[in-house]
C-alpha cells in the first residue's frame, strides 16, 4: 500500500537550511533528478538507481515516494506542468500594448520561463515517450498543448480584431508560433547537446529572428504605403 504522494507548489524557493537532510524536499529532488535523466536518456534507458543516486538517496527511498518507475515518470510530467499555463493565461488577460509587442513578449517569456529552464526537457520527453504513455500524452495534450494553442490563438485573434494582423487561419498560424518553440526545446536536448560549441544556435537570437519573420509575414502593412 503506497504512502500518500506529495503535492507541492512547483516554484518553491527552498527556504530551509541546506545542511540537514530535509525530508519534505525529497520528492522534489527525486523529480528533478528524474526529469534530468529521463530527458537525457529516455524513460527505458534510465535506471531508477541512477535517479536515486543523483537525488542523493538510496534506491529503496525512491519507492517510498513513488510506487513505480512509471508513476515517477507520470509525476515528473504532471509536476512540471501543473499550474504553469493558468498563470500564464492570466498574465496575457491583462496585457496592454499592441499585439506584435504582445507576441514578441510571449515568445521571449516562453524562452525565459520554459525554454531556458529544465522545464523545456518535458517537451522533449513527451515527444520521445508519447507513444509509450498514451494517457500521459493525452494529459499533456489537454493540459499543455491545447491551452497553449488557445492562448496563442487568442493573441492572434486579438491582432486580427484590432486590425494589426491580416485575417488568417489562427489555428495554423498558432502552430507556426509553436513550431520554433518546440524545435528549440528539442534541439537543445538532442542534437544541440552533441554539437561542438562553435556551431551552436543562439536561442534568443533564433527566437527573435523567427518572431520577426512571422510578424513580418502576418502584419498588415499600412505603414508601407
Amino acid at each position: 500500500m503506497p504512502p500518500a504522494r506529495h503535492e507541492f507548489s512547483p516554484a518553491l524557493p527552498e527556504p530551509q537550511a541546506k545542511r540537514e537532510r530535509r525530508k519534505e524536499a525529497r520528492p522534489g529532488e527525486l523529480l528533478d533528478a528524474a526529469l534530468a535523466l529521463f530527458v537525457e536518456k529516455g524513460f527505458a534507458a534510465t535506471r531508477v538507481e541512477e535517479v536515486a543516486a543523483r537525488a542523493g538517496v538510496s534506491k529503496g527511498t525512491l519507492f517510498l515516494y513513488f510506487a513505480s518507475k512509471e508513476e515517477l515518470f507520470k509525476a515528473v510530467v504532471r509536476e512540471s506542468i501543473a499550474g504553469r499555463i493558468k498563470a500564464w493565461n492570466e498574465e496575457f488577460e491583462v496585457f496592454e500594448g499592441d499585439t506584435p509587442a504582445m507576441l514578441r513578449y510571449c515568445m521571449k517569456v516562453w524562452w525565459e520561463r520554459v525554454g531556458a529552464t529544465k522545464a523545456s526537457g518535458i517537451t522533449k520527453l513527451m515527444m520521445s515517450e508519447a507513444r509509450n504513455f498514451p494517457e500521459l500524452a493525452a494529459f499533456y495534450q489537454q493540459e499543455v498543448v491545447q491551452p497553449g494553442q488557445v492562448l496563442l490563438r487568442r493573441i492572434l485573434q486579438r491582432g486580427v480584431d484590432r486590425g494589426e494582423f491580416a485575417p488568417m487561419d489562427t489555428n495554423y498560424a498558432a502552430y507556426s508560433m509553436l513550431a520554433p518553440i518546440m524545435f528549440l526545446s528539442l534541439w537543445k536536448h538532442s542534437l544541440g547537446a552533441c554539437v561542438p560549441d562553435g556551431q551552436q544556435l543562439d536561442p534568443v537570437k533564433f527566437i527573435a529572428t523567427q518572431t520577426e519573420i512571422l510578424l513580418h509575414g502576418m502584419c498588415v502593412r499600412q505603414e508601407k504605403k
Copy 2:
C-alpha cells in the same frame, strides 16, 4: 541437451513450413521493422524479438545480419540517410524559376519524399536518441543537418542575390525553414499519433501556410513601389 520439440506429439508434421530462404531481402525487411519500432517505442523499449517478429523471422535470424541491437540501430539510421541529400542537392542545382517558387517546391518535396514517408521517423529517432548515441548524432549532424542547412542557405542566398528577398542572416533564416519541418516530423510520430482524428493537423496545409508566412516575411515587397 538437444531441444526436444513437441514433446507430446513427436510426429506432428508442422504445417507452417516457414523456412523460406531470402538472404538478400532480409536485411531490408529487418531495417524497416526496426525503424518502425524504434520510432514508435524508442531504442531501449524495443525488443529485438519484436523487430524480428515484425520482419517475419526469428530472433536468431536478426543476429545473422546485425551483430547486436546497437549495430541494428546504427544501420537503421545510416541506411535511411545514405545518398538522399546528394540527389536532392543536384536537383536544386538546376532549378529554374523564381526563388519563392523554389522554396515552396523545396518544402513540398520534403514533405512528399521525407515527411510523408517512414524516413521522417529517423528525425524523431535522432531527437530521442542523440544523447545515447553521440557518434550517430555527429554522423547525422554531418550527413543530414549540415547539408540540409547548406542547401537551404544556398536557396535563401539566391533569393537575396536576385533581389527577391530582403537581406537577411541566412543561417538563422534557414533554421526558420527547418523548424516547421522538424516540428512536423516530431509531431507526426509523437503527440500526433495520440490525438483523436478530428483534431489532426493537416501537414500539407501546415507546410503551405508556414511557407507562405515565411515567404511573406522575407520577400521584398514589389507592391511597395
Copy 3:
C-alpha cells in the same frame, strides 16, 4: 511492466521467507559452490544459476558480488591460492631432521592440506581451463607452480648437500615429485570419480609408495656396503 507475481493467489503469504541478509558470508559461499561446480563440470558447462542455487541464493545475488561468470572464475582461483605457498615455505625453513623424512613429511602434508581438500580441485581446474584463461594460467604458474618447484628443489638440494642424496638434476627430480601429486589431484576429480568403489586407488598409500620408490632411487646407499 511490473512483474505480476502469483497471478492467481495474490494474497499468498509466501511461507519461505528466505530473504536472509548475510553480506559478509555470501562471497565465500559462492566461491565454494563455484569451485565445486567448475571442478566437476568445467567452466563453460557450469551455469551461474547452478552456482547460485548451490550457494543458496538467487542468480541475481551472484552478480551482486561478481561482475561476471569470468570474474567469478578468476576469484575462485585466486582465492584458493593466496598465501598458501608462503606459509608452507616458512614451515620447511626450520625443519629439523634428515632429508628423506623431510620429503616424506612434505608429501604427506601436501595430501592432507591440499590433495584431500577441495583445494585440490584448483589443480584440475587449471589443467582443464589453462588454455581458455591464459592470464590465469600465468598467474597460477607464477604463484603456485614456481614456488612449489622452488621449495621442492630446495629440499632436494639440501639432501644432496648433506650427502643424503646422490647428485642429481634437481629441476627434473622436482618434477618427479610433482607428477604423482598432480596425478592424484587430477585422478580424484576425473576418472577416480567415475570408477566403482572397489577399484579405487588409496591416495595415502599411493603417495607413500611413490615417495618410497623415489627416495629409494635418490638415496646414496652407504649402509649397503
Copy 4:
C-alpha cells in the same frame, strides 16, 4: 535417421591426392579438428562451427557424419583409442632382454607413439570431461586405463619373477609409471602451452630421468653382493 558411421584404421597414411575433395577422408578430418579443439578449449567451449571450419567443411556437413556434438565427442575418444592397446600388448609379449630395458623401452615408446602425438590430447580431454561423460569415462577406464595397467603390471611382475626387481605391490608401482605419463600429457596441453619457451620441460629428458629414478628405486642391487 543418421547415416552409418565411418570406421577406419587410425594410422591411415592418407595416400590419396590432396587436391580433390575426398569424401571418405571427411570424418577423419573432422575428428582431427574436433580432437584439437576439444583438447584446447574443452567440450562445452568448442563450437561445432569451429570444428567444421577447421576441417574445411560447413557446419551442416558435420551433422551428416555425426548425429550430434556429443556423438562427435564420443567418436573422437573412441577413434583415438581403438586397437592401440592390443597392438602394444602383443609387442611386449615377445620382448627379449632384461626388464629394466623393457621398461625404458616402454616409456620411450609411449612418448613417441602417444605423448608426442595428438593422441596425448585424449588424456587431457578425459581428465577434463570425465564427470560430464560418465559412460565415456567408463569406456576409457576399461579400454585404456585398465589394459595399460595390466600391461605395466605384467612387465613389473616379469621383473620380480626374474629377480631383477625387488618384490613390490605391482598395482601401486604401475600407478608410479602412469603418473609421469599422465602428468606429461596434461602438462603439455595445459600449463605447458601457456608458459614461455625458456621454461619448458623437455619431455624426453623428463621421461628418461623419471624412468631411471623409478628403476633405481625398484631394482635389486647386484653390487650389494
